[in-house]
């Protein structure tokens, strides 16, 4: 399906959805964090979209905003899309979990929590997966400082 | 205890000439025990070497080849290393049981080896309930494994020990019933007599034809399970339980477990040889006329062939799962065995034996 058609369908799922194809090979949908779960649910269940395969979930620190990037594919209809969600709360960033929609998100969200400190609502088992439970700070954030272990060029 | 080789007779006379009778008998006991211990150690060590060589042969490798020619001193060196190693253990073990466990295993294996007729005269203890005694003694070993697993205070060891318990209890039935099938044929429990029966009538596996062959197959399967060897090595299943029941043992205590496994294999093979392949009797009586020929050679050759068969199992088969292990025993081997026992009885009743 063409990107324009995708955009037309997805536009009906929520308000204030931003669409862009700039600087990316896929159609990017920027979703307000309040609507994330609802939009994702629609993406999975809509019979014209059927985005059933979340092939990549990336945590992101844009400097001011923290967020998550979801790369989605439909295994049946073969189209691809990128969903982005941002939050500007760096102290206590919270997003909705999508692991009830795509089960693979459970582990990837744990990873994002571990490295970016983004909490996910309704996540069954949010814990530090890679780092020790008492690790201080979130290493993949841009403002993370660890003079002992990091070699900065 | 009649060993008529001249050297033993000389020693016998010499001991009785310098000591009072009671002490002399006691001294002889000790000497025989020492001889058997030496035999035990050498057999154990060289079975380990044989296993490593056979494994290497199966696995496109050379095997041990550095210590001595063809690596024949490799296991000696290993044993020396194990003797000199520190006996470490964890803090929260049950000390008494932990230290007791290896001795249970090794002693039961040692006692069992005493009753085998290696040749016409080479037999320490020709008891009239030989088979029964052997069977009883060899099952004591599992207590050692259970104790070891329990006392180690390690969950992997405990799982291993529990598996061993259920495995040995189950497969003991099959071993017992297949032996019983053969005892029906011989009419005797005494090992020397069982062999004597075969001198005139041919090996038991031929005498009893079909039921005997079935009994032999079941005995080999169950016997391999008895010794906790692959494909029934769930007890130590290294990919599941680390090292199983002996995870927490080190040094010589570990070596006892290790050695006992090989001696148990020797025992199972020996029982098979005595019950099915005529013990020390030569095939077709080819060396019966040669009086100086050591008949124990035949015994050893047959035992080694059976042991090789068990090693072959080990290096080609994957491991069973615990429920499949029990299914095999209780749903297949046991019913077949019971039917086989009746079949054998009918054959003897109708006098169909060869």
């Amino acid at each position: 399906m063409k990107n324009e058609d995708l955009q037309n369908i997805i536009n009906g799922f929520g308000e204030n959805l931003e669409f862009t194809t700039e600087e990316s090979e896929f159609l990017n949908v920027i979703v307000p964090k309040e609507q994330l779960h609802e939009v994702c649910n629609q993406l999975k269940t809509n019979s014209n979209l059927k985005f059933d395969y979340l092939y990549c979930l990336t945590g992101m620190d844009w400097g001011t905003d923290l967020g998550v990037i979801y790369h989605l594919e439909s295994t049946e209809l073969k189209h691809l899309i990128v969903v982005k969600v941002k939050t500007d709360d760096r102290e206590n960033p919270t997003l909705d979990s999508v692991c009830d929609i795509w089960r693979t998100a459970e582990f990837h969200e744990m990873e994002v929590f571990d490295f970016f400190g983004i909490k996910f609502n309704n996540h069954p088992n949010l814990k530090r997966l890679f780092l020790t439970p008492d690790w201080d700070g979130f290493p993949l954030r841009k403002d993370y400082v660890d003079e002992a272990n990091m070699i900065v060029k | 205890m009649n060993i008529p080789l001249n050297i033993t007779k000389t020693i016998h006379d010499w001991i009785f000439s310098i000591m009072p009778e009671g002490l002399a008998t006691f001294t002889e006991w000790v000497l025989i025990a020492a001889a058997y211990l030496a035999l035990f150690a050498v057999a154990g060590l060289y079975l380990v070497l044989l296993e490593r060589k056979v494994a290497a042969w199966f696995q496109l490798r050379l095997g041990p080849n550095r210590v001595g020619p063809w690596g024949i001193f490799q296991t000696m060196a290993d044993a020396l290393k194990l003797v000199s190693k520190e006996l470490t253990s964890t803090e929260k073990i049950d000390k008494f049981l932990y230290n007791l466990a290896p001795y249970f295993v090794i002693v039961s294996a040692l006692i069992a080896i005493g009753v085998f007729p290696f040749s016409r005269q080479f037999q320490a203890f020709d008891i009239n309930i030989g088979v029964f005694f052997l069977f009883a003694v060899s099952s004591i070993g599992v207590i050692g494994i259970l104790l070891g697993g329990w006392a180690s205070n390690n969950k992997f060891a405990l799982i291993g020990a529990m598996r061993s318990g259920l495995q040995t209890i189950s497969y003991e039935l099959s071993v017992g019933l297949s032996i019983l099938t053969m005892v029906l044929l011989t009419g005797s429990l005494q090992l020397s007599e069982i062999i004597e029966v075969q001198r005139t009538g041919g090996w038991l596996i031929l005498q009893g034809h079909i039921p005997a062959i079935i009994a032999f197959m079941i005995f080999m399967i169950a016997g391999t399970a008895e010794t906790n060897r692959a494909p029934f090595d769930l007890v130590e299943a290294e990919s599941e339980l680390g090292a199983g029941f002996h995870t927490e043992y080190s040094g010589m205590k570990f070596a006892y477990f290790f050695l006992a496994e090989f001696i148990n294999m020797f025992i199972i093979a020996s029982i098979a040889v005595v019950l099915f392949f005529g013990g020390w009797l030569s095939p077709f009586g080819i060396t019966d006329e040669i009086t100086w020929f050591p008949e124990s050679i035949w015994f050893l050759i047959k035992v080694l062939i059976i042991i090789f068969l068990m090693m072959w199992f080990r290096w080609t088969f994957p491991r069973l799962r615990v429920d499949q292990l029990l299914t095999l025993e209780w749903k297949y081997l046991l019913p077949i065995n019971l039917v086989n026992l009746v079949l054998m009885a009918i054959i003897i009743w109708l006098n169909w034996t060869i």
């Binding site: 090979e25 990549c56 795509w102 693979t104 890679f130 | 992997f156 615990v322």
Partner: protein, 373 residues
């Protein structure tokens, strides 16, 4: 029925076992927190990070050429394919079209890597199930591939043969002959694998119906590679999003619908045959051409996001590069197959026995550095 009632009435106590981080079945430092009732598994909770090196953070400080070298250390058994993924992503950003020669050589070496990886896996699955002999048979054949790599790349495991824009250097003059030699050898040896393990009754009993993963679950959990394809999920990136020279070769995507450990086993065996067929189609006519399209010494990707998917030996590897136009990437994410596949483990081993967990893990073929990154 009565049996079930008795079992229900029996009081059992769940206990907790720490499987790993040092455990023979984990093939590395994977720690599984098992809740067990007798021999039956109630819950599997992976605890990762024992070999975590934060490669993604290291990428943010390194130049694009340097990133390639870090990817070797992820899934070290398909190191060439990892290198290729990063190079393809960078080339996509620079809008470079590499020559046909590079494409073909990359494909051949990738398939050799896949063969070597699957050979090692075959040895290991036998070992995990207790048949120790398979390991040595597999290594006999894997050694030949490693020798080919050593001759061409100078390294046997972490090859670093790819650079953004092409290859580090041309193939060794012996390369073609030795690859053909290997193919002729391995064609006689792969049936031996089947004879030794596949047909074994105990092996079949241990794997058939063990760890069943349905197609829906495979897609939802993002289980790719042989794990996904064993469940009927057609996820081969070489077919769905062809890269390098995969669009010019004929090969079948190994698909089985049973979803059990045996299906995953069969997928890999079939993939070995397909890999050999791919190499055979390409090896005779490697086109002439440059082995490297020149790039600037300091690569600066234009501002934007680049995503490249490749089919590594364990499944789909995704490389996400976010560039702000400087010489370092702003953010790099590796979507490793092992990490997604691991998340399935708890779902499909609940209620199985400890031995089943080992069999399932063996059929998943985990490489822990790939999971931890």
């Amino acid at each position: 029925m009565v049996e079930k009632e008795i079992i229900n009435k029996m009081k059992t106590e769940e206990y907790f076992v720490n499987m790993g981080p040092q455990h023979p079945a984990a093939h590395g430092v994977l720690r599984l927190l098992l809740t067990i009732d007798g021999e039956i598994i109630k819950n599997v909770d992976p605890d990762l990070g024992y070999i975590h090196r934060s490669i993604e953070k290291m990428c943010e400080r390194d130049s694009y050429q340097q990133i390639v070298h870090l990817t070797d250390r992820m899934d070290y058994l398909s190191s060439h394919i990892n290198n290729e993924a990063v190079c393809l992503a960078v080339e996509k950003g620079l809008d470079i079209e590499v020559s046909d020669r590079v494409k073909v050589i990359r494909t051949i070496v990738s398939e050799l890597t896949r063969l070597a990886s699957h050979q090692l896996w075959w040895g290991v699955i036998g070992m995990d199930l207790g048949a120790l002999t398979t390991y040595f048979y597999a290594f006999r054949d894997r050694e030949m591939i490693n020798d080919i790599f050593e001759e061409t790349c100078g390294a046997r495991l972490t090859m670093n043969y790819n650079v953004p824009g092409g290859l580090m250097f041309d193939i060794h003059p012996n390369f073609v002959n030795r690859v053909k030699e290997f193919l002729a050898h391995f064609k006689t040896k792969l049936p031996e694998y089947d004879r030794l393990l596949t047909g074994n009754v105990i092996f079949q009993k241990r794997t058939k119906g063990v760890g069943i993963l349905t197609k829906e679950d495979a897609i939802s959990y993002g289980a790719t590679g042989p794990v996904g394809r064993g469940s009927g999920f057609a996820c081969d990136v070489r077919k769905t999003h062809p890269y390098s020279a995969y669009d010019r070769v004929e090969f079948k995507e190994a698909l089985f619908t049973e979803g059990d450990s045996l299906a995953r086993y069969k997928v890999r065996i079939m993939e070995m045959w397909e890999s050999m067929s791919i190499i055979e189609q390409l090896i005779d006519n490697i086109p002439e051409g440059d082995i490297k399209t020149p790039t600037k010494a300091v690569i600066k990707l234009p501002k934007g996001e680049y995503y490249q998917r490749v089919e590594a030996a364990r499944g789909e590897l995704g490389v996400y590069i976010n560039s702000t136009g400087t010489k370092n990437p702003y953010r790099v994410k590796f979507r490793s197959a092992g990490f997604s596949n691991l998340s399935v483990l708890n779902h499909i081993t609940k209620g199985a026995k400890i031995a089943d967990l080992v069999a399932t893990m063996a059929s998943f073929d985990f490489v822990i550095p790939d999971i931890d990154r």
